[in-house]
Symmetry: C2
Subunit: 204 residues, 2 copies
DNA sequence: TCCTGCATCTTGTCGATGTAAAGATGGACG
DNA sequence: CGTCCATCTTTACATCGACAAGATGCAGGA
């Protein structure tokens, strides 16, 4: 009855790397049921352990969701960074591409995105989550700064907030199923429109 | 042991206007505990009725939340409309003010805003809610159209989406406690900055 | 006036959930 | 080889949403 998912290398504990297995199960549970129907016992069942096993690694449900959100922010940053590189050398183009990455992530992981940005359950006082979230914000701020520096000035905070607001609003509305017309467009056309919209918020 | 909240006019039923009393209790519960800890039994307790009483009026929890979201959208539209009138006669100014109203509503009612825009629990197939939500969208679209018409053209849908995205993103980030600098500003300065940002998205 | 029908509300119950406590298991390490 | 302890399971309990059955009292007709 053992969980033999990966009979690979390290098997540090009793059961295997239960912490990682629970995080994976929680991610699956989140996408399957959404955050509002998220159940700790169901996650434990997915991972093949008793319903009380997660407590040892995460404390309580919110602890698990906090870890999941932190992992989400790290994946978010990586996704955005990869996308940003498609923008080439021009800072403005890079910033727009980073915004598209932000939006694409929200579309691809709507439930996770909602956990990260519209839930009270993750504890942002937790250092790991705070750091991951801060890194995500810093990434956007840096991309804005690069544009401003190129033009010879520091970035007024309002510039960063404008860009963040535009990108985040489009991401949230798309992830929430509003903006049906835009969501139904072929990817290339959708991204072209989004590029135009994002460009409006660029530091001037 | 009767609930004598308003010994005013109509008392249509057994207990009084329980439907309205439950909606009020639910709104209080929502702001107090947030949507993620929202409890039907707690709402019933607030209203002074048994835990099963709400079922008769709303079916289940999601039915209550659906009605609450619909009422939220109606208040949202009213709030935005009142604010829009502060913009005077110029369509562009009116649109910007409507956006500020959108954002102010989100800041004043963060939990309700989240219920309306970031929850799966309200049933948007319910005609009352669908109509109320549609009216909110229509209001923004109309304000955009007024700007475009003034300039002699129809409104490309992308223009509406751009404006909506910008306003919604700022509202959501502020309601979620991101954008701490902006949130900490005195109201006048905050609104001045928001006006600048919103103006970037205006139909050109 | 009385009585019957029925919407309204209460009581009691069920399965599911999150959390805590206590016991079982087995690897690490002296 | 034996002990310790992190890990996991079992058991128990309070709370939750939903359902069913019974109580309450207004309305409308005989």
């Amino acid at each position: 009855m053992r969980q033999e998912a990966t009979d690979g290398p390290a098997r540090p504990y009793h059961h295997g790397d239960l912490r990682a297995a629970l995080l994976a199960a929680a991610a699956a549970e989140l996408e399957a049921r959404g955050i509002e129907a998220f159940s700790l016992r169901s996650v434990a069942k997915r991972a093949g352990v008793s319903h009380a096993a997660p407590a040892h690694h995460f404390g309580d449900v919110n602890g698990l969701l906090t870890a999941l959100a932190a992992e989400g922010f790290r994946r978010f940053v990586a996704h955005q960074a990869a996308r940003e590189d498609r923008g080439g050398a021009d800072p403005a183009a890079r910033l727009v591409e980073a915004g598209l990455g932000y939006i694409a992530f929200a579309r691809a992981n709507p439930a996770l995105f909602r956990l990260m940005f519209a839930s009270d359950r993750p504890d942002f006082g937790e250092p790991a989550l705070a750091a991951a979230a801060e890194a995500a914000f810093g990434q956007l701020a840096d991309a804005c700064a690069a544009v401003a520096v190129r033009r010879g000035g520091a970035v007024p905070p309002a510039e960063v907030e404008a860009t963040w607001g535009i990108v985040h609003g489009l991401a949230d509305l798309l992830a929430g199923g509003r903006l049906k017309r835009l969501a139904a467009l072929p990817e290339a056309e959708r991204e072209a429109e989004l590029r135009d919209i994002i460009a409006r918020g660029l530091p001037r």
